[in-house]
């Protein structure tokens, strides 16, 4: 068996094992209370996540948590709960922007900037690489640029250390 085939098989086996473990982990829907109270804000002005507001007797968080529990017990969906909270307390009650309207920009912009920067960097490096190859070929074509002693020294070091470079 070729080494590359062995690598592919090992990779496939690893991926399969991961998939199996992940599937095993899937379970029934449980309490959403904790998840949802971490997606809402306390409105008392403490600027804390609803589920993490630790002010004893905080009227805002106590009321909000009661409303949340009641909404879950009433069988409302997440979206219905968020909409109700937003209607009552304003958009600031949601711990993160929605994915509608102008709020969507908040989610898209970071990834769009990252993708654009990544693409730009890759293109730039490729362009530089092609320029460097041209320069290197021109330099190699000129015997005056060759330094046999230097080349020999580099080769010796590479052989003996196996270290390719450093900071």
């Amino acid at each position: 068996m070729k080494p590359s085939t062995v690598w592919m098989k090992a990779l496939q086996a690893g991926a399969l094992a991961v998939a199996v473990f992940i599937s095993v982990g899937a379970s029934d829907a449980g309490s959403r209370y904790n998840d949802l109270n971490h997606k809402l804000m306390c409105t008392c002005g403490c600027a804390e996540i609803l589920g993490e507001c630790n002010h004893v007797g905080c009227t805002s968080s106590t009321a909000e948590l009661s409303e949340l529990r009641a909404a879950i017990n009433a069988g409302q969906t997440d979206q219905e709960i968020f909409a109700a909270f937003q209607a009552k307390y304003g958009a600031v009650v949601l711990a993160a922007p929605t994915t509608k309207g102008f709020d969507l920009v908040a989610w898209i912009a970071p990834f769009a900037v990252f993708a654009a920067a990544l693409l730009g960097t890759v293109l730039l490096v490729r362009r530089w690489a092609s320029l460097s190859i041209g320069k290197t070929q021109a330099a190699l074509a000129d015997p005056a640029n060759e330094d046999p002693a230097e080349r020999e020294r580099r080769e010796k070091i590479r052989r003996e250390t196996g270290i390719d470079g450093g900071f």
């Binding site: 690893g14 989610w107 900037v113 250390t161 270290i163 390719d164």
Partner: protein, 687 residues
């Protein structure tokens, strides 16, 4: 003392202004060669001496404020608002930075210290230091002008002078608050130095990369202070705010994190300039941006543009900062346009898969992370402006957007050191990556087997998924770094006959910058492991009567008492909890709730029992007014201790990187007499 302090500030302002004007004139005369009645060299030296004298004046002003705090001089408004008679001595120092005026004075004083050291070491390169010193004087003029005219720390009370002050904000009455702000400010202010050198070098078309070597130590020390300041802030938030976490993506936290990100990018990319003469414009703009971000952070939190849970020093000095930032930006752009031809790269990247390329991608990711945080901080303002609707950018948004970027950065931390300069062959990639890849997959399987499943209650769980990726990447990065150490140490061991540990130490000493950098990366990995542990946090809250029990994880907390105490500064209620683990009695915890007498404000004092596995974190939330029983909230936070341990490793790595490498002559002295001579490559591995 108020008059003395105010007068000292005015003198400092006058001296800084003279330093700026005389320095600028002298440099202009030197650059153009115009004849003048006084020689430019002498004029520049008077400017330098004025800068030194200015530092003495600012120190006097700072001393005057501290003296006023300790002598309870409540005729000064600032002292009345931020101190009181019963405040313990250590916290009286904290009063210096607990308010707007005091923290600006601290900023100006620290800037004075940096400038003082810079001016004392001017013989390293007289002209470059004269440029840098003049630019520092310009920054100093701004802060002193704000102190003299917009936020005077020695403003006097009107009407009757009260007998006692309002006291220090209870949140700040915690030991770390004595060192966290100065550390953070040393970091913020310190970036003025590399900024001044970069701008000065550009103005004078400084030949070569020497200015980067000159500023390397400044930048690293500054970066270290900022890093330590951020972590101390995290620990303070963890121990004081009582919500069980240490990072809430608050605008104040974000303000300190943004310059850290660009500063980190700068520390990486300057290596490209030093080694290859590349990315010169990029580096100049990185340090310009870092300095501007320190100002922006201050503007955001001081001007009240964004709300924050711990902005202790808000006021209306925003206009001053906006104006100064515009001036700085205009000077940077103007200088760059005028001198950018001086910044042409000597080389270009040769391959997409190379060490240089990894540095570039590292910079890209760090700057994207900085953009994300800036975007998250400013989006509520933007949203209100565009659609008239203010939104919250809380932890769920940052966790979803910033964590993937952070994990990609962690991936690059592992990949970068394994790639050679210029270009990598497929053979070397296979050879270097095989162990890290194995470590990654083994960790994935172990984590899944241990129950870190990306599904919870039938739904995809981002927290668990990110933790799984973080643990796996951490294993891969650690393996990559350790294999780098072992490879180099193995060669030295073979050459010198030393054991592997001794060879590793010698290897590190021979290239402190490289291996110190690797140790920093290991510190980052340890921190990431600690952060990933937060995916498994759990908590339980209960009202506890005497001998009631509360169980969390393997711990059982039994309430054995609830009592009260008081002193001149505060009254406190605390619960006494006996903690047993798996049925065996272990230790006692006393979470506390204080009410400060001067301000009447309550404050929690969390009880934390820390182990490498997890922290048992107990909060006394108060007393139920109906039953009179204490309400206790207990958290079990896995791996938090790793975050603080990671900081220690990070500091250690930075200190090693700051130590000069052994020179060939001193290295030779450390080789056993009978051993063979060492090849040049082993002295640093730079090919």
């Amino acid at each position: 003392m108020a008059a003395f302090g105010s007068f000292a500030l005015l003198i400092a302002l006058a001296l800084a202004a003279y330093n700026l004007l005389a320095g600028a004139l002298a440099l202009r005369l030197l650059a153009t060669g115009q004849p003048a009645r006084i020689s430019p060299e002498r004029l520049a030296d008077t400017a330098r001496r004025a800068g030194i004298a200015g530092f003495v004046a600012i120190s006097m002003a700072a001393f005057a404020l501290v003296w006023s705090v300790f002598t309870n001089d409540f005729s000064i408004t600032y002292i009345m608002e931020h101190s009181n008679r019963a405040l313990p001595g250590a916290y009286k120092f904290s009063a210096l930075w607990s308010g707007q005026e005091g923290s600006l004075l601290l900023w100006a004083w620290l800037l004075g210290i940096y400038s003082f050291v810079l001016r004392l070491t001017h013989k390293t390169d007289v002209t470059l230091y004269a440029y840098a010193g003049t630019i520092m004087a310009g920054i100093q003029v701004f802060f002193l002008a704000v102190l003299c005219f917009a936020a005077p720390p020695f403003a006097l009370m009107t009407g009757q002078i009260p007998d006692d002050g309002n006291g220090l904000n209870p949140l700040l009455q915690y030991p770390e608050m004595v060192i966290h702000p100065p550390m953070l400010y040393l970091g913020y202010v310190g970036f003025s130095v590399p900024f001044a050198f970069a701008l000065g070098a550009l103005m004078m078309r400084y030949p070569g990369e020497k200015w980067i070597k000159v500023t390397r130590v400044w930048t690293m020390v500054t970066w270290l202070f900022l890093t330590a300041g951020i972590f101390l802030g995290m620990h303070w938030a963890y121990a004081v705010l009582g919500w069980g976490g240490y990072w809430g993506w608050d605008p104040v936290e974000n303000a300190s994190f943004m310059p850290w990100l660009t500063g980190t990018a700068f520390l990486h990319s300057v290596m490209m300039q030093e080694k290859k003469g590349m990315m010169k414009s990029w580096n100049v703009w990185l340090i310009f941006s870092t300095f501007l971000l320190t100002l922006l952070g201050t503007l955001l939190t001081r001007a009240g543009l964004v709300s924050s849970v711990h902005a202790f020093a808000q006021s209306s000095i925003g206009t001053w900062f906006v104006a100064f930032m515009c001036i700085v930006l205009a000077v940077c752009i103007f200088t760059y346009i005028l001198q950018h031809s001086h910044l042409k790269s000597e080389h270009h990247l040769e391959s997409l898969v190379s060490r240089e390329s990894s540095f570039l991608f590292n910079n890209l990711v760090l700057l994207t992370a900085c953009f994300v945080i800036l975007w998250g901080t400013l989006f509520p303002i933007l949203s209100e402006y565009v659609v008239g609707n203010k939104v919250t950018m809380g932890a769920p948004w940052y966790n979803r957007v910033a964590i993937p970027i952070g994990l990609f950065l962690l991936f690059l931390t592992g990949v970068g050191p394994l790639l050679p300069w210029r270009s990598a062959s497929l053979k070397s990639i296979k050879r270097n990556f095989i162990l890290p890849v194995i470590a990654l997959w083994v960790t994935v399987l172990v984590c899944l087997a241990a129950g870190d499943l990306p599904w919870k209650d039938g739904a995809f769980d981002y927290g668990n998924f990110f933790a799984l990726v973080a643990f796996s990447l951490s294993a891969a990065v650690t393996t990559a770094i350790l294999s780098e150490f072992l490879r180099g140490a193995g060669v030295i061991s073979r050459q010198t006959g030393r054991n592997l540990l001794s060879a590793t130490w010698l290897l590190t000493r021979r290239n402190t910058r490289r291996y110190g950098g690797y140790i920093i990366h290991i510190g980052v990995v340890i921190v990431v492991i600690g952060l990933a542990g937060s995916a498994f946090n759990r908590n339980v809250e209960s009202e506890m009567a005497l001998h009631d029990k509360l169980t969390i994880g393997p711990y059982t907390l039994e309430c054995t008492g609830a009592t009260q105490d008081s002193n001149d500064n505060y009254n406190s209620d605390f619960a006494v909890l006996d903690v047993s683990k798996n049925g065996k009695s272990q230790f006692q915890m006393t979470p506390e709730k204080r009410t400060y007498l001067a301000s009447g404000q309550p404050q929690t004092m969390v009880a934390i029992h820390s182990t490498p596995e997890w922290d048992l974190y107990v909060v006394y939330e108060g007393t139920n007014p109906d039953t009179g029983r204490p309400i206790i909230k207990a958290f079990l936070n896995p791996l938090v201790g790793w975050i603080w341990a990671g900081l220690a490793v990070l500091v250690w790595g930075t200190l090693i990187a700051l130590v000069p490498s052994l020179t060939p002559s001193t290295a030779a002295l450390r080789v056993p007499a009978k051993s063979a001579p060492i090849e040049p490559a082993l002295k640093g591995g730079i090919l």
